[in-house]
Amino acid sequence: MEQQSIYMVIDIDKCWGCKACQVACKQEHGIPEGSGNVDVIKIEQRDEYDNLHCDFVPVLCNHCDSPECMEACPAGAIYRDNEGLVSLNRDLCIACGACVEACPYGCIHITTIDGEEKAMKCDLCKDRRKRNFLPSCEQHCMGKAYETCDKQRMEELTKDRYNYRIGRIVYISRKLVELGKNCS
């Protein structure tokens, strides 16, 4: 049975840059230190009027509408699941690294969990959600910048905001005029 499609809205204006999500994610999935599923990127820059700005952008798997990792995987380990997410079956993964090369956003990586060195990526904490928990990044966020939701809520949250999505991750902001405009 097809489950309801899921989205995650990320309000960049609300990210404090504390990086709790990075640690929360690693703890949840047993990922050792090193590459993780999510990283918060700090961008300090001047605008056209020479005013200083500093933003923090959580970057995690976009669950793309056209996932290049899925295309690249020779083992068929990456697939679209019944929530519309780009999922990874670690049992099928041969750790060849093709997906790592293919992902334009650096959001899939090879890591050792329970002694197995294989690909790893965000699944929006599928297991937690089944148990009525929020994804660990979303629950622990100091700024409540993350929100998993259905399509209707996603549309409501993006309505009067600058917004951008490639897949199931939807970035929103009330100040970033060019949000996503330079992504092609």
């Binding site: 990086k19 990075q22 230190e33 090193g34 200083l52 952008v57 100091m142 060019e178 992504c183």
Partner: protein
């Protein structure tokens, strides 16, 4: 991987910013039309969360810092192993959030570098040769030494020191007081929180208005020298919610911090000149008639003197000193004063300036003349939930030390606001105490017992502290890890972490409305709760009549007025009492005049300025121009990271990877002029000493200012560069936020 992520993030956000939302908030406050809105946040859904069958959950409270966030500790039912530490989604305080330190707590409790048994030194001091001993032998030795040195040199010959509390601090203070040892001290006391609390004692008569915030109802938050994201997570969470409701955020910080980056108005003050800024705020508010005259008339004392005192402290005058544009000062002052209710949150930056208590007083005066004290949405004093407070002179038995011995306390006459009755905990002046240990003057101090302090790192002028420690004949250190300080000890006692102990947590720092219950989740090695260690020491010193049988009885005692035992309270999770607005209408203010003392009679009686006055920094271009030629940059050690608390947390891999190196934040223009590349090693030198760091380019600092992070161990310890010699009036604060330094390219230091 991270490069691709960074590239995507940069492309994603672009370079054009729309600041309409922020401008509208500011303009609507100025024209009186400002309204708070309901946040669009998702409402908390009450769904039953399913715990995996093989797991049990222990609700507790994180004590990785003073924020004390409620957590759930997940354990394996069969093995008893801790599997995860998470935020508690049902916590009314945190709503589920938890910062990196709490989330990495499993790496704290199971850290392979933990101390698990008491140790006795068998080699030379500091050589690192140890023998494992029993708790009985360890405690007997410490007690014997305390008795021996007290006998030989008098109670003043003992240094009873402590650090960041793990829920035991005031119990240790009580022990030192009933032992009649006057030289109790900590790295923090003239440097952290105490200046703010002493201000509250002087200004409000003990009510901690300056430290309690009604964020849910505020229209404007003035964050002065504080970046809660890195050090006070619950407050950052509250501030973000307030922003969602449309509250304005004004931030005073020399650095474009995470909080400054979210501000509607950022005042980039030159370090250690906040007094000038605060006085000019008061000047604007009074001269433009933005005061709450009714409140001033009924509830404050000394307004006419204040009015006269600040008349020359104009924004133009302050602008020259602080580097902040005069019109921006005016705008910020107007927004703060015109907001229907505004709330000041202050941080360590004020505590650590050369005029610590006085600059804190200036911000309290600001809140008072605008009528934001006790008001909904302002600074509101936190009500007691009925449990016994440890933060009273009664609890710590401050007067158990005879007056003639109290007067022997190091710094007694010079720093009355720290060492005498107006101090939240009357204690010794630590820089002077370390110098006493070295010189033996005015009397010998040869024995020290340190609970929970990595003194070699956490005190300023650390090389001097090291010299002092090596002058001791006996040193006992109680800590979680073998710190550089513990390495200098004769006896090392293994303390448990917060996951291994119960506690009753009632603190305005954690929560305005709840007393929280921390519950033991596990036992590791022979590590013990400090409270039990202190009680055991008290028994061996013949002082058991002042204590409880053990820590469990102590927690029952703390809760006794509420009618709950610890177990009953733990089952309830937390005790609740809502904020009371305008509490002063019933009780007044416990100052000599019964009002808020803008003009402080208590300060005056102690020989301190009754009104906060601008004075120059101890070291600056203006006050020490010759020195500035040799040391041309202003340094502040003000950077904190969400991964660390002061000198802690460098041993957890998840945390260290968030901030892998000790950085010196520096403007790229300054760095290039000095031949310093981004990420390269630099040497920071001052009149006190030197330390190393990695350059971190940021345009968020003025070109004449650099910023370091304190707490790194060894050669990277920036506290080695913080000079002594001049101290804040009355309290003896060392200025760590604005002294002079030189920065040069360097090779990696050899350990």
């Amino acid at each position: 991987m991270i490069d691709k992520k960074a590239e995507f993030a940069k492309k994603l956000i672009g370079t054009k910013y729309d600041t309409t939302v922020s401008q509208n908030i500011i303009e609507s406050i100025l024209d009186g039309s400002h309204k708070l809105t309901e946040s669009k946040n998702k409402q908390h859904k009450c769904v039953e969360r399913i715990i995996p069958e093989n797991e049990t959950v222990i609700p507790s409270v994180c004590f990785s810092c003073h924020s004390t966030c409620e957590v759930l500790i997940y354990k394996d039912k069969n093995t008893g192993e801790i599997l995860r530490v998470e935020g508690d989604p049902d916590s009314p305080q945190t709503r589920g959030m938890l910062c990196p330190k709490g989330l990495a707590a499993k790496q704290l409790v199971y850290n392979p570098k933990r101390l698990l048994k008491p140790l006795k030194r068998v080699g030379e001091r500091g050589e690192g040769k140890w023998k494992e001993i029993s708790w009985d032998e360890a405690l007997d030795t410490v007690a014997e030494k305390l008795k021996e040195y007290k006998e030989k040199y008098g109670p003043q010959g003992l240094a009873m020191l402590e650090g960041t509390r793990r829920g035991w601090s005031r119990v240790y203070t009580r022990l030192t007081n009933v032992l009649q040892a006057p030289n109790h001290g900590a790295a923090g006391w003239a440097q952290c929180l105490w200046p703010r609390l002493t201000d509250c004692n002087l200004t409000f008569g003990g009510a901690q208005y300056g430290e309690a915030f009604d964020f849910p109802n505020t229209h404007c938050i003035l964050a002065w020298g504080v970046n809660p994201v890195t050090c006070w997570g619950v407050r950052a969470a509250d501030i973000m919610l307030a922003k969602q409701r449309g509250a304005a955020l004004i931030v005073v910080d020399p650095y474009y911090s995470e909080t400054a980056a979210k501000a509607d108005i950022w005042l980039q003050v030159r370090p250690d000149t906040d007094m000038a800024l605060a006085l000019s705020f008061i000047n604007v508010i009074i001269s433009e008639g933005l005061t709450d005259d009714d409140f001033i008339e009924k509830w404050t004392y000394g307004y006419e003197e204040l009015k006269d005192h600040v008349k020359n402290y104009t924004p133009e005058w302050a602008s020259k000193i602080t580097g902040v544009d005069a019109d921006l000062i005016r705008k910020a002052a107007r927004v703060y004063a015109k907001a229907e209710a505004a709330c000041v949150i202050r941080g360590l930056a004020l505590d650590q300036q050369h005029d610590s208590v006085q600059v804190c007083r200036a911000t309290s005066i600001l809140a008072s003349i605008t009528g934001n004290i006790g008001k909904k949405g302002g600074n509101v004093v936190v009500s007691s939930r009925g449990d016994i407070s440890q933060n009273t002179h009664d609890f710590i038995k401050a007067n158990f030390i005879p007056e003639e011995i109290r007067k022997l306390r190091i710094g007694y006459n010079e720093f009355p606001l720290l060492t005498q009755e107006l101090s939240p905990v009357p204690v010794a002046h630590m820089p002077s105490l370390w110098e006493t240990i070295i010189s033996g003057k005015p009397y010998p101090i040869k024995c020290a017992v340190i609970f929970g302090s990595n003194a070699l790192v956490s005190y300023t002028n650390s090389d001097k502290v090291k010299e002092a420690l090596s002058h001791l004949e006996f040193l006992a250190v109680c800590d979680i890890f073998m710190t550089p300080t513990a390495e200098m000890a004769d006896i090392v006692l293994p303390a448990s972490t917060w996951l291994e102990r119960n506690n009753v947590i009632s603190s305005f720092q954690s929560n305005n409305t709840h007393t929280l219950i921390q519950q033991k989740a596990i036992t590791i090695g022979e590590a013990k709760n400090d409270v039990d260690i202190i009680i055991e020491l008290a028994k061996r010193l013949g002082l058991e009549e002042h204590f409880w049988e053990n820590s469990e009885k102590f927690y029952d005692y703390l809760l006794s007025p509420t009618g709950y035992t610890f177990k009953e309270a733990a089952a309830k999770r937390r005790l609740y009492k809502p904020l009371t607005y305008e509490a002063y209408k019933e009780k007044g203010f416990k100052t000599p005049t019964g009002k808020i003392e803008l003009y402080s009679n208590l300060a005056k009686a102690k020989g301190c300025d009754p009104l906060p006055r601008y004075t120059q920094s101890f070291q600056s271009y203006d006050s020490t121009p010759e020195l500035a030629k040799e040391y041309p940059l202003i340094i502040t050690t003000g950077r904190h990271e969400s991964a660390f608390r002061i000198s802690e947390n460098r041993l957890q891999p998840y945390l260290l990877e968030l901030v892998p190196k000790p950085y010196l934040f520096i403007n790229p223009k300054t760095a290039r002029r000095l031949g310093i590349e981004n990420g390269s090693m630099v040497k920071v030198e001052s009149t006190a000493g030197y330390a190393y760091a990695y350059a971190y380019y940021t345009e968020g600092l003025r070109e004449d200012v650099v910023q370091a992070t304190s707490g790194w161990w060894g050669e990277y310890n920036i506290n080695k560069t913080v000079p002594w010699g001049k101290y804040a009036e009355g309290i003896g604060t060392v200025c760590a936020r604005g002294y002079l330094c030189r920065v040069t390219p360097a090779e990696e230091p050899v350990d």
